[in-house]
């Protein structure tokens, strides 16, 4: 198992990163930055309203 994991981290993950994460990430950011990283000096507020529908409630796993 440790060998398998090392192999995954050493080889598979970089391949996955280059072939999937990078292109998807770059395309996504063309549309919208998921992290909204830059301040928007013109905005009046950054608050995101959270209604009860989006908010509470435990989730069984």
């Amino acid at each position: 198992m440790p060998t398998l994991r090392r192999l995954a981290a050493g080889l598979l993950l970089p391949v996955l990163y280059v072939l999937v994460v990078v292109p998807v990430g770059l395309v996504t950011r063309l549309v919208r930055d998921p992290l909204r990283r830059r301040p928007d000096r013109a905005a009046t507020s950054y608050w995101i309203t959270t209604g009860p529908a989006e908010g509470p409630g435990g989730r069984h796993s």
């Binding site: 994460v21 998921p34 990283r37 830059r38 507020s45 908010g55 509470p56």
Partner: protein, 609 residues
Amino acid sequence: MTSALGISAFYHDSAAALVDDGTIVAAAQEERFSRRRHDPAFPALAAAYCLTEAGTKLDDLDRVAYYEDPRRKFHRVLWTQLGTAPRGLSTFRRVLPEWLAWKRRAAATVSDRLRDLDLGAVPPVVCYRHHESHAASAFLPSPYASAAVLCVDGVGEWTTTSLWRGREDRVEPLAELRFPHSLGLLYSAFTYFCGFKVDSGEYKLMGLAPYGTPRYAPLIRERLVDVKPDGSFRLDTRYFAFLLGRVMTGRAFEELFGGPRREPEAPLTEREFDLAASVQLVTEEIMLRLARTARERTGESRLCLAGGVALNCVANGRIVEEGVFDEVWVQPAAGDAGGALGAALLAAPAAGGRTHPARGRDAMRGARLGPAFDDDAIQRYLDDNDLPHTRLDPGELSRRVAAELAEGRVVGWFQDRMEFGPRALGCRSILGDPRDPAMQSVMNQKIKFRESFRPFAPVVLAEDAEEYFRLGQPSPYMLLVARLTDAQRRTAPGQEEARGLDRLRATRSTIPAVTHVDHSARLQTVDRADHPVLHRLLADFKALTGCPVLVNTSFNVRGEPIVATPEDAYRCFMRTRIDSLALGGFLLHKADQPEWTESGDWREEIPLD
């Protein structure tokens, strides 16, 4: 009637809490048992303790409540990867395997680990959101029937700052700010940059702030964080490195603040004092605006606080001082440990609703929610180890300890149940005479083995608090900082011009050992009904000296968790220059004890904090 075991784990400060029909039966952090500070491991020992305290097995519980939602958190981790590509490969390789292997199924891991305890069949695990757990821990045990609730921390799933309304037995979400825009992470970035450890050195940065001038505050406001009038804010993440890896700040941050970060343990310079003062000022400004928005949007007159930033007692004190709310209550375990309690309170509400607000009290039992050791157990420990001691009745013990404190001795004070949360509140404390100008440096250097700049906190009789401090409300959990009254201040000639650590040397007040260089103090008020044993000790000390205040610091040395057992307490007593140890109803003197020997240097075994 429902009962639940709350668990917070796998990040830092793991904890367990047991709630039965809305009543908090037990709560403790894993670090106290494992003796590993801020232990992030599954809280097996704390969970077992909670079950023992409740006299129950896992079978008897209705639910296990986990303090965050692993799937949402995984979602955030993945989006962060997409957001930072192609620059995040090293983080991707480091974090993805553990997320794929078990972290995204943390609730199942909790269930498996509880099964390993062999304490009965594990009830279903319910996950609550990180900030919902914080909000519940802030409001449900508070003494208020309704209140505004503000949670501010580093990050949970996505939320970093959240505003709620607490009413009856529930918390309703109103608004939030999301990762990576986080006041906790902003503060941690400066903690890291000033050479302290993230997630524990924030307290040092806050203690350092009064030595400096906030000359970087305009730069922080202009470049690092855009704050709107309603307190909502965004960071400019180009200046931070936390999205990309293990460290908080990178080259852009260094260019902004004149060179590389201070190396840990390197000498402190004016720049660190001023950086600390600046980020503290900006934090206070943001917290004040957030509090004002909370008041406007809820119309409530009382505020409940939780989340790691709510441990910033200076900012909390500003909210009280500015009168934004009529009253403020801070969850004593405001950090992630408190999430275990909040989740358990959500999962096991009282069938008859919250009744304690009608009695004007909170439901935290003075935060005394951990293990206690009765005198029989302590006697056995002392006899088994042949440790010289005197057994005293409670009144006599209190008078003797008060007399020793008045003579300038430092006393380890181990009584009652251990506190839940990061502060020692008079059950696992080291006490001293605050009138002694040398006490701060003695305690810092010979007892706690920590940096000389760090201030100590006063514990004061609630009925005398106003005479010493300008606060106007109780502070039972040492989470509010207040200014000394003018009557208690003393200014020595030349003191105003002193800079940096030189300011430490001046006598600042009638209680210099607990007065910070800006005449502030992180205050604990002691009410007779809430904390009778500590109240009696303070009253006895006042009878001898006229002073209703003592120095109260946690019973540990730098880098070590607070002591949990009589054995831990004795070890700390013998390793340090503590003069006497009050262990339950027993008094031990250093001079009477057998010589203490240890193989190796214990200082090297405790990591620096």
